[in-house]
Every structure is written in C-alpha cells, then in structure tokens.
C-alpha cells in the first residue's frame, strides 16, 4: 500500500496558512500591548477613583455618625481614616464633642449621596461629598430631623491608604 501522493499540496497549503495565522496573532498581540496611551491612564485613574471614593465615603459617614451612648466606635473610625491637620483637630475637639453629645443626647446617622473628585494626582485628591444625616438631640425635641451637607475633603495617600487630611463644609 503506497501513501497517496496528494499530501504534498495539502501540506503546502497548511504550511502557508500556519505562517499567516502566526503572523496575524503576533501582530494583534503586539498591538494589544501598545494600545492608545489614554486607555492606560484611564484604567489607572479608574482604580484611583475607586479607592479615593470608597475612603471619602467611609470617612464622611463616620464623621456624621454619632451615638451618645456609644461614642468611641465612630470616633475611632474617623481617626483611623484621618491624617495631618484633620486628625489633630479632631483629636483636640474629641473631649468636647463627647461631652456635648452626651449632654444633648445626640444621635446622628450619616448617609453619603454622591462623591465627586476635583483635582487628582498620584497621591493627593480634592473630593466633594454630598451627604445627609438624620439628627436627633434635645434641641430637636428628640425627634429625627434631616440635615444636608456639602463637604470638601482633602485626601492624601499614606502608605497605600487614602486618608483625609482636611475636611470642611462648603458654604
């Protein structure tokens, strides 16, 4: 039994096809890694956005949340997300805040409605937060009242974590 002689042309076609496919694969693989430069920057900024937004949201909610019966947890959460000037100011004010909250039997539950980022570079960001809270204390007659806030947070990246260095109301 002799092998059919017709494999020659078939092998030729397959060989050419193989070369074309390999070249095309290499072409698209190389092009994929050198894509438009804007795409790489956007992906990096998106990752930053996620981290900054989450940190700002957490810090704002901690800052606007008060329970005169359990003051430490929320204060500790604020301090854990704070650095620099904001941390110092909050530490200095804490004793006063605690006694005022106890005296007025204050509770407040903060909710973040929207977070936007203004200036942003590798390790600092100006963040704007729209937040609400439901407040109750002796001056509201212990009834829950809504409050609306506009906040500006100056955030810096310290050792891989975004922390709030300054927090102020925009009025």
């Amino acid at each position: 039994m002799a092998e059919p002689r017709s494999w020659g042309p078939v092998n030729g076609v397959l060989g050419v096809l193989l070369v074309v496919l390999v070249l095309a694969t290499v072409f698209f693989a190389v092009r994929g890694t050198s894509e438009e430069p804007g795409t790489v920057a956007a992906a990096a900024m998106s990752r930053q956005y996620g981290a900054v937004t989450a940190a700002a949201r957490q810090e704002t909610e901690a800052f606007l949340t008060v329970d005169y019966r359990h003051l430490a947890p929320s204060a500790n959460r604020v301090l854990a997300g704070a650095t620099g000037q904001f941390k110092r100011e909050y530490q200095e004010a804490e004793v006063h805040l605690r006694s005022a909250a106890r005296q007025s039997k204050a509770t407040s539950k903060g909710t973040v409605r929207a977070v936007g980022i203004g200036d942003l570079d590798g390790d600092s960001a100006i963040v704007y937060v729209a937040a609400d809270s439901t407040v109750s204390n002796t001056s509201t007659g212990h009834k829950a009242e809504p409050r609306y806030y506009r906040l500006q947070l100056q955030m810096t990246k310290v050792g891989g974590t975004w922390l709030t260095a300054n927090l102020q109301f925009v009025s």
Binding site: E3, G8, G15, G32, Y49, G50, G116, V170
Partner: protein, 175 residues
C-alpha cells in the same frame, strides 16, 4: 531498495499533514484570543473613568453650563432662556421648558432674578460621550419689594453628554 527509500518524502507525508492541521487549529485559537484581547483592551476600560481628557473637559464645562442653566432674570428672560436652552440636549430642553413654563409669569410679575454660582465642580464618572458631575451650586434669588436675598445651597448631579459638537446638559438632579 530498502523500505525507507520507498516511502514518500517528508513534505508529502500524511503524518506531516496531521501535525500541520493541529498547529493550524492551535494558531487559529491563538489568533481568536489575540483578537478578543485586542478589542477588549482598546475599547473597554472598566471603572468610572474611561477618558481622562473627557474628565478634564467635563469638569470645566459643568461649572459654566450649570450656571447658565440655572440663572435667569425677569429683565432679560427671553435672552436668558435662549442661552440656557442652547446648552441642553433636546430631551432635557423639554423638561426645562416645562419647569420654566410654571415660573414664567411669576418671574415677570415679581421681578425675580436667580443667579446661580457653581462654588465647586467635581467628576463622578467620565467617558468620551458622557460625564457625570457633582456640582455645589449657590442660587441667590431676589424679588421686587424684598430687600432680602434668598440663598439656596444646592447639591446637583449634572450629566453632560457630547455628540458631534460641544458638551450639553442631558440630566440634572438636585437633592
């Protein structure tokens, strides 16, 4: 003649054909992967920002367009409304017309002026065609017969879209 020399040459063998066929199939799969990867990498960026230039442009436009859309004076109402409508998409223009229809007569009668100032503008998300912004707006209202101004401190999520031309307001939500 030995059996070896009676076989056809390597280039004509069926075994090579089988090997080549497998390689061609593998290369085809490789190309498919490369194409999919290429398309995915160049058109899809996951996350809120898929265009940094749109972010910068949208942040600047948000300030200007929001102030235009939310300001008007009884003394130049037609002109102000025209300027405001010019920075809106057709869809949002309809909502604006309805809202202005409700306050039109009262504005002229009471000599009402609204002046909106964007005190801060920031970006929530940005792509080439849509930028969602958070704008803090102070709106000062004055009216005939009252010396006092009313100041509203608003928080507005302003969505801008861009087709072929400039950025336009497509949605506004104050809360």
């Amino acid at each position: 003649m030995s059996p070896e020399t009676s076989r056809p040459g390597l280039l004509g063998s069926g075994r090579l054909a089988a090997v080549l066929l497998v390689l061609v199939l593998l290369a085809g799969a490789g190309l498919g992967w490369a194409l999919w990867h290429d398309r995915h990498a160049t058109t899809q960026v996951r996350g809120p920002i898929s265009s940094t230039t749109a972010r910068t442009a949208g942040m600047a436009a948000a300030t200007e367009l929001t102030e235009k859309a939310l300001s008007y004076s009884w003394s130049s109402l037609d002109r102000d409304v025209k300027a405001a409508r010019a920075v809106m998409t057709p869809g949002f223009r309809q909502q604006y017309d309805q809202a202005m229809g409700r306050v039109h007569d009262q504005t002229l009668r009471n000599h009402i002026t609204l002046k909106a100032t964007a005190v801060a503008s920031s970006v929530i998300s940005a792509s080439d065609h849509e930028v969602k912004t958070l704008v803090f707006v102070d709106q000062v209202t004055t009216a005939k017969g009252t010396k006092r101004q009313r100041v509203d401190q608003n928080r507005v999520v302003v969505t801008l879209t861009r087709g072929a031309g400039d950025w336009q307001i497509s949605r506004m939500k104050a809360f």
